[in-house]
């Protein structure tokens, strides 16, 4: 079957399949419950617990529609995305070689892994104050915190990937007289690639979570910002709407971050599939 028809076969079965319809029904029910819940004060006189305070989806949709036309909203989105990418690529640039070095040489692993393991449990956000002191500009401190978010995950996955390469591949390669570099390029890199992709997809998800919080805390929260609204970014946008008291904007901000995070993971998964065709045998 040609790729196209194979693809159409997959999609058509998805559309007509019951999964799709049941999913739609579930989401509609959820939205209705949310609408009623947040309007409960007006409809039933008493506010439902929790959901009572949350703005109704209809109001949020109106808000999103308004925000989309505002360039400042897209600017915040751009700022956050740039910080995510900066932190993420730095984490890949540093994390992958470090992970590979750890996987390849036992001594290096023995020296660096214990220190790495002690620093790993410290949540990236605990670094925000120290980062603000250490790094000259606020931009760098947020990028540093997002870097930490992805760095640990990527290194762990690279090590895991390298360890799971079957030792027979090494023996086979060595028996065919390949040099250390050949082994590295022919065996270790392709072998580790799938887990690099996994680490990257998980990592970018974490960077999104971290950038939002870092912007909130350093941009607006008690750690305070040098230069007031210069913080910018979606996290700061949500913080500002919170401080300004417009809760619909908060939810709109949350949804946009969710969408952005989802898209970046999806893009990475796609790139991952392209990089490792031998895995995706359908």
């Amino acid at each position: 079957m040609s790729a196209l028809s194979k693809w159409s076969f997959k999609v058509s079965s998805f559309i007509v399949g019951e999964d799709f319809w049941r999913g739609i029904v579930a989401i509609i029910v959820f939205l209705i419950f949310w609408e009623i819940g947040s309007r409960s004060e007006a409809l039933f006189g008493f506010a439902f617990p929790w959901v009572g305070q949350v703005p109704a989806p209809s109001a949020v949709l109106k808000e999103i529609y308004r925000l989309i036309q505002e360039p400042s909203f897209w600017h915040s989105g751009y700022l956050s995305t740039r910080r995510v990418l900066e932190g993420f690529f730095a984490a890949m640039l540093v994390g992958i070689p470090l992970g590979l070095a750890m996987a390849v040489s036992r001594t290096f692993y023995g020296i660096t892994f214990p220190v790495f393991e002690v620093l790993r449990p410290i949540p990236p956000l605990a670094w925000v104050p120290a980062a603000i002191i250490f790094w000259p500009t606020q931009e760098l401190s947020i990028a540093f915190v997002t870097f930490l978010g992805a760095f640990f995950t990527i290194v762990i996955n690279v090590i895991g990937g390298a360890q799971s390469i079957d030792v027979r591949y090494f023996q086979a390669a060595r028996s065919m007289g390949s040099s250390t570099f050949d082994i590295f390029r022919r065996i270790i890199l392709p072998g580790v690639l799938p887990s690099i992709v996994v680490g990257a997809t998980v990592g970018i998800g974490i960077t999104w979570a971290v950038v939002v919080a870092a912007e909130m805390i350093s941009g607006g929260g008690s750690a305070g910002s040098m230069g007031g609204a210069a913080g910018g970014g979606l996290g700061f946008f949500i913080w500002n709407s919170y401080v300004g008291g417009s809760y619909t904007q908060i939810v709109a901000g949350m949804i946009s971050i969710g969408a952005a995070g989802y898209m970046s993971s999806a893009i990475l998964r796609k790139i991952g599939q392209l990089l490792t065709p031998w895995l995706a045998e359908g």
Binding site: T107, G221, S222, A223, G245
Partner: protein, 385 residues
């Protein structure tokens, strides 16, 4: 087992090597590298200078900074070609952190952050060079939720706080004041939360806070927006508050000309602040440099009047500029208290206060500290809509 022995020997040599290099380096630290890094180089006297000013438009007592930024008085005194950039701090402590990290050169801060900044000479030697203003209800304003009971006097209000949730931005002048009042009146709030002025604002809006101790203009904003009620201030317990200007010793030593120039401009700004007819213009300046504040609440924070029962005062700010006895007394008392609650590692250093600059300038211009006062004006005086 062959692997174990070979790796063992290799490892032992590594450990040995690391120890040698480690001790060699630690033994003879290269001093010249050590010195240069900690002290910032501000250039020779008379040269144009780059200055970063950390100021607080959200702190009325230090509004001389707002006026400086708007009116640019400093351009008259600083060497030609100098470049000054202003950075907003939401809280004095953030400016102090910026100064300790060498990213900010001059700071407009409240009493607690001011004193705390002088207490880290090991990181960076910072000194207090001028008194922006003293007051009773500028930095220390008690606010309670709107649906709290109506109190006969400030004392009843303070007693009500026992067992309630009180929020305060930790490390600010309100933190020192609140802890001093709680100790003096032996009050024990159920929760003493550390929240920024923004979280406190939203806390009152979401009706989650019983009370907060906050500084102007946020106090006036919360009252004007009907989110909270003002019940007491420093005046109710005769506890003074103050705003100070702080500078690194490196700047004072290397560029006394710049320090004098900036303080000359600061004097002009304070005099401008003291003149009641400038009230509306100053309120407009504050609006342009803040977000989320209406002009009326900014005006009220400096020039508005509040009934005595709620801790109101006639003289809202004493623009001291120089180190008046009251200012020195405030610094001494506050630093003793801060040392007691372990906020600063030791009593304030005598050299932390540098009164001679303001004294010389005042003598040169035939003025005496305090150089003016910001008096409360009747609400009718507010000319805005």
């Amino acid at each position: 087992m062959q692997y174990q022995q070979r790796a063992g020997t290799r490892v032992k040599s590594l450990v040995f090597g690391a120890l040698i290099t480690f001790s060699a380096l630690a033994a003879n630290p290269s001093t010249d590298v050590a010195q240069a890094a900690a002290v910032k180089d501000y250039g020779k006297q008379g040269e144009p200078i780059e200055l970063v000013i950390g100021y607080q438009p959200y702190y009325t007592e230090s509004w001389s900074g707002v006026i400086m930024r708007d009116k640019k008085f400093y351009e008259k005194y600083l060497p030609k070609g100098s470049n000054v950039s202003f950075q907003v701090g939401l809280q004095g402590a953030i400016i102090v952190n910026g100064m300790l990290a060498g990213k900010v050169d001059i700071g407009y801060v409240g009493d607690m952050p001011g004193i705390v900044s002088t207490s880290h000479p090991d990181v960076r030697d910072i000194r207090i060079v001028s008194v922006l203003g003293l007051g009773y209800d500028q930095c220390n304003v008690f606010l309670v939720r709107t649906d709290a009971p109506t109190f006969g006097s400030s004392d009843d209000a303070l007693k009500w706080l026992d067992g309630k949730t009180v929020a305060v931005p930790k490390g600010s002048c309100t933190d020192r004041f609140a802890q001093a009042v709680f100790k003096a009146k032996s009050l024990k709030p159920s929760e003493y939360l550390n929240q920024s002025i923004e979280v406190i604002t939203s806390g009152f809006r979401a009706k989650k806070l019983d009370a907060a101790v906050i500084w102007e203009p946020t106090a006036s904003r919360l009252v004007q927006e009907g989110l909270a009620r003002r019940v007491a201030s420093g005046a109710s317990v005769n506890e003074r508050d103050g705003g100070f200007m702080v500078m690194p010793q490196a700047l004072i030593e290397q560029r006394p000309d710049v320090v004098k120039a900036w303080l000359q401009a600061e004097l002009d700004a304070s005099l401008f602040f003291a003149d009641p007819k400038n009230a509306m213009e100053i309120a407009k300046m504050a609006v342009s440099q803040t977000t989320g504040f209406q002009e009326r609440s900014l005006w009220a924070s400096a020039f508005g009047s509040t009934p005595k029962a709620a801790g109101g005062t006639d003289v809202r700010i004493d623009l001291a500029f120089g180190f008046t006895p009251e200012a020195l007394d405030l610094i001494k008392k506050a630093s003793a208290f801060l040392f007691e609650i372990k906020s600063i590692p030791s009593e304030i250093r005598p050299e932390a206060v540098q009164p001679q600059f303001t004294a010389d300038i005042l003598k040169a211009r035939g003025l005496t500290a305090p150089i003016g006062q910001v008096k409360a004006q009747p609400d009718s005086a507010y000319a805005g809509n």
